[in-house]
């Protein structure tokens, strides 16, 4: 392990929300509000990260997260380098460690990384002198998505305490759900996870970490009293691996439809991290309804990522 103390390591990187305190999350959400004001200006740029280099390292495809990070870094005047595995020396067999060392030697100050392997951002963080932000690793974590979800809900409802949030979909494979569980429970929300048994997994798998989380196989009953519904993307390839009898069956029992919204609270809000399979896990009418916060999520994503980049502005300096 590195010689950096736990606290220092935590302040230097954003790897997941498990090591964020409620106060720290609140601080990020408050900073996000200030960042949102900047994005509403005619000149959407402040000089805060001038001269710093942010490398977006995406080993997995992404539209919104990558563009969102790029816009956020540019709004803070950082130099942005986009690195994709395709077309890089990774194709010649260069290892992740060598790639990170190369970026460090080239003067990178921050690395934003998405990787299909859980733990890859931690590995990079231990081998890089600057700061690392996890933009999604395997099934493990996607902290910036969770923070933008928290911000979007809080912005609409004024707070998160005691809200009933139902997360529905492919929970077994969802890094978005896991990071949101950390964030939502720390902020005092009550979370219900809902999925067919094959996509939910055993209850102790969840309750060992989040003892108060509720589990359900029945969306219609789970939605009772819900303030917020988070639909997850159904990864279509799962059907091929035998976890689902058919997409049609999933849609029948777990899709978010207008009829199902009527089972929740009257002004229930719907979130989706994207990309969406319209007509599978969520119906187009829902996406376009007044319940949907899906566009706000994307917009808020830039401000949240600005707040996180700002949080790490000094982190690269040895104390």
């Amino acid at each position: 392990m590195s010689t950096i103390s736990a606290a220092g390591f935590h302040n230097r990187h954003v790897l997941d929300l498990d090591d964020f305190s409620r106060e720290e999350i609140e601080e990020v959400l408050e900073t996000t509000e200030s960042m949102k004001e900047i994005l509403a200006r005619e000149i959407k740029q402040v000089p805060t990260l001038r001269g710093k280099t942010v490398v977006n390292m995406f080993f997995e495809e992404s539209t919104r997260t990558r563009i969102s990070f790029e816009l956020a870094a540019r709004a803070l005047s950082a130099n942005v380098i986009n690195f994709t595995a395709k077309g890089s020396s990774v194709e010649k067999g260069e290892s992740l460690l060598d790639t990170v060392r190369t970026l460090q030697a080239l003067g990178a100050d921050m690395i934003v990384i998405r990787h299909s392997q859980a733990g890859a951002p931690h590995f990079v963080a231990r081998n890089f002198k600057g700061s690392v932000i996890n933009a999604g690793d395997g099934r493990h974590a996607h902290p910036t998505q969770a923070l933008l979800d928290l911000f979007t809900i809080r912005e609409k409802l004024g707070g998160l305490t005691k809200l009933k949030v139902v997360i529905v979909g492919d929970l077994l494979h969802s890094r978005v759900a896991r990071s949101n569980l950390w964030g939502l429970t720390k902020m005092g929300a009550k979370v219900t996870l809902c999925a067919p048994p094959t996509l939910l997994g055993p209850s102790q798998f969840w309750q060992a970490t989040w003892p108060n989380v509720e589990l359900s196989y029945n969306l219609d009953t789970a939605l009772k009293g819900a303030d917020v519904i988070m639909a997850l993307r159904l990864q279509k390839e799962r059907q091929l691996t035998g976890l689902l009898p058919s997409l049609r069956e999933y849609q029948t029992f777990f899709a978010i439809t207008m009829e199902r919204l009527a089972l929740a609270k009257k002004d229930v809000l719907v979130l989706h991290p994207g990309p969406m399979n319209e007509g599978v896990e969520i119906m187009p009418e829902v996406i376009n309804s007044k319940h949907s916060l899906i566009e706000a999520q994307v917009t808020n994503g830039v401000a949240v990522r600005m707040a996180l980049l700002y949080r790490l502005v000094n982190a690269g300096q040895p104390a």
Binding site: E37, Y310, L312
Partner: protein, 180 residues
């Protein structure tokens, strides 16, 4: 540590009223004027000057709040990143006279950051600076247009402005000497 009060609540009130009069006099009224308080303590001071202007001129002056954290030149020298508060200037500043308001003018670096921040929000016709205390030790070629009190200090001293809005205490300006 020893403390010396240099301004009490009454003196602060009178200084702000005088500054308000000077602002109106210098600008021949308060047309096209916008007051912008620099966070934290410039904000309540701007509101008080605006109230004094409303009293004497019979007209409201728009008041905005400016957070300069993202424009600081010493971010990487400080500890953990300070909290960024919201900038709220509802009015378009382009073509207007902006009076920046802050509590203490010291090195001038905060004002420098505020000027950069304002430039990103528009192009004012002119920018003026009002401060409650000018304590000297400028590190940049800047001066204030309106000063509540000039107070020579040493760099070791700390000038503490306490306001009822931000500090939940009676208004006062206090110089804190470190014990030698």
């Amino acid at each position: 540590m020893s403390e010396k009060q240099i301004f009490n609540a009454d003196e602060i009130r009178r200084a702000l009223i005088r500054i308000a009069h000077e602002i109106a006099e210098r600008n021949e009224g308060i047309r096209d004027l916008i007051l912008v308080g620099i966070r934290q303590r410039g904000v309540p001071l701007a509101a008080r000057i605006a109230a004094a202007l409303a009293d004497s001129e019979g007209q409201e002056v728009p008041v905005g709040q400016l957070d300069i954290t993202l424009y600081r030149d010493d971010l990487s020298l400080r500890g953990p990143a300070p909290i960024v508060r919201k900038t709220m200037i509802q009015h378009d500043i382009t073509g207007h006279t902006v009076v920046l308001v802050d509590d203490v003018l010291y090195t001038g670096r905060t004002v420098r950051a505020a000027l950069d921040a304002l430039a990103d929000l528009g192009r004012p016709a002119r920018i003026q600076l009002a401060v409650l205390i000018d304590r000297g030790h400028r590190e940049l070629p800047l001066r204030a247009d309106f000063v509540g009190k000039n107070m020579p200090t040493s760099r070791e001293e700390k000038v503490d402005v306490r306001l009822r809005e931000t500090d939940q205490t009676e208004d006062a300006v206090i110089i804190v000497h470190p014990d030698s």
